[in-house]
């Protein structure tokens, strides 16, 4: 039985295989109902409307059916039943479980107790492999994942999207440029691990230093609560904001990505520029999740 829990569990060829599968699915005008008759539990212990809709849509397009369970007052979930018990029971109802949970490592635990495949749809500040896979998919759609300069911008200390993506990129021939405000730099243990895996990491303190030499710029959210006061937050947020002016001298082939929803990181004026790929990126969540669902159930 095969689960999808963490991008760390993937070898490069497994990532490539999933991306290829997603490309095949997306290139078909109409989808094959390969998961017809399959029933999947979407277990959401914390709200995430977008991720849930995206999995539900992916499943439905492949002909599968969903049972959606949200954590609500009065359900066994809030009556103190362990996740292990919930998973054991739900396993007997369905062909796969898609799990969203506030605790880090919840999906790994679920995979140990489930008798059906588990897909991690985000566990707390932990892993969110479908996001990382769709990020890679979107890069690959625009350029080969080979000999490219990728910039990661924003909160690289706490941002799980950035952590998982940088880990995944360490499978490829990529130079990673990190651009983070003071105090929100990529954690040392992670940059050491990435370097040990052969990734070139170059740290920058400002966007101007490097933006014109990038092929990919991946912006992530900078959260207000990471700063002592709103003045220092505003200052940082302003200097990390991407506007049409910031992009004046960038490489022609630059693509601009963001996991969405955005706060102020990208000026809406950028949306109509050819670099803006973040809405396409969100759209790519569907074929990637279709590929993931097929991957665990077929």
């Amino acid at each position: 039985m095969h689960h999808i829990i963490s991008i760390r569990d993937f070898e490069r060829d497994e990532i490539d295989a999933l991306i290829t599968k997603a490309q095949k699915i997306q290139s078909l005008g109409s989808y094959k109902r390969t998961l017809s008759g399959k029933l999947v539990a979407l277990l959401f212990f914390e709200p995430s409307t977008r991720t849930k809709m995206s999995f539900a849509s992916a499943l439905s397009r492949l002909g599968g059916d969903a049972i959606t369970v949200d954590s609500v007052e009065g359900s066994s979930i809030s009556k103190g039943e362990t996740l292990a018990d919930t998973i054991r029971v739900v396993s007997s109802y369905v062909d796969a479980i898609v799990l969203r949970h506030p605790k880090e490592g919840a999906a790994r635990l679920a995979s140990e107790f489930a008798s059906v495949p588990v897909i991690n749809a985000g566990d707390g500040a932990g892993q969110h492999p479908s996001q990382t896979l769709l990020d890679l998919y979107t890069i690959k759609e625009n350029m080969p994942l080979d000999n490219i300069d990728v910039g990661l911008l924003g909160d690289l200390r706490y941002g799980r999207t950035a952590h998982s993506l940088s880990y995944a990129l360490s499978n490829y021939d990529v130079r990673l440029h990190t651009i983070a405000p003071k105090g929100l730099e990529i954690p040392q243990w992670l940059s050491k691990e990435l370097k040990d895996r052969g990734l070139d990491i170059i740290e920058h303190s400002s966007m101007d230093e490097i933006i014109n030499e990038l092929d990919v710029l991946y912006a992530t959210r900078i959260q207000r609560e990471r700063f002592p006061d709103s003045a220092s937050y505003s200052r940082v947020a302003h200097s990390y904001r991407i506007t049409p002016e910031t992009l004046e001298n960038v490489r022609k082939n630059l693509i601009l990505l963001h996991p969405l929803p955005r706060a102020g990181e990208i000026d809406p004026g950028v949306d109509s520029l050819p670099y803006a790929k973040y809405f396409r990126q969100a759209e790519n969540g569907i074929p990637i999740r279709m590929a993931m669902l097929e991957d665990v159930m077929l």
Partner: protein
């Protein structure tokens, strides 16, 4: 046979044992932590001799010694000790003779030994699982939440 039946020999801090395990060269002051790691408490059945801050002639540094009668520790059990006392040696005793003497090695995976420092980790909730860490270059990596413990490992020992 219990420890009481043996009179300590002259000059010996603790008596020899007939069968069991002697853990020697424990870092001074860590004997009780070693027992805790091994799950040996006052309420378990083993008879124990513990010596702390022993000054031996061979090494100038003091050490602790633990003797456990009628229980031969497995390699897996003793490797947990390496976390706090990497120089410890394990002697398996049968009929007063050392039949096996091994050093300790930090195992590749630590199960149920260390508490994850991340309060948001699922291993810190009421779930029927034990913590699990992968050990790489003396750094512990939580296999559930990916958190890292790279210093003060002793503080996290359960």
């Amino acid at each position: 046979m219990t420890q009481k039946d043996h009179k300590p020999e002259n000059g010996l801090l603790i008596s020899p044992i007939q069968n069991g395990t002697v853990i020697d060269h424990i870092k001074a002051g860590e004997a009780l932590t070693v027992l805790r790691i091994l799950g040996i408490t006052g309420s378990t059945e083993e008879s124990l001799s513990i010596a702390t801050n022993v000054k031996s002639n061979l090494t100038l540094r003091p050490k602790d010694i633990v003797k456990i009668s009628d229980r031969e520790l497995s390699k897996e059990e003793v490797n947990k000790i390496a976390l706090i006392s990497p120089n410890a040696t394990i002697n398996i005793i049968r009929n007063y003779r050392v039949v096996e003497k091994v050093g300790v090695e930090i195992p590749d995976i630590l199960t149920g030994v260390v508490k994850c420092p991340n309060p948001g980790c699922i291993t810190n909730s009421n779930e029927p699982i034990e913590s699990k860490f992968e050990v790489v270059d003396e750094t512990l990596h939580c296999l559930y939440c990916d958190n890292i413990i790279s210093s003060d490992i002793v503080d996290y020992i359960i």
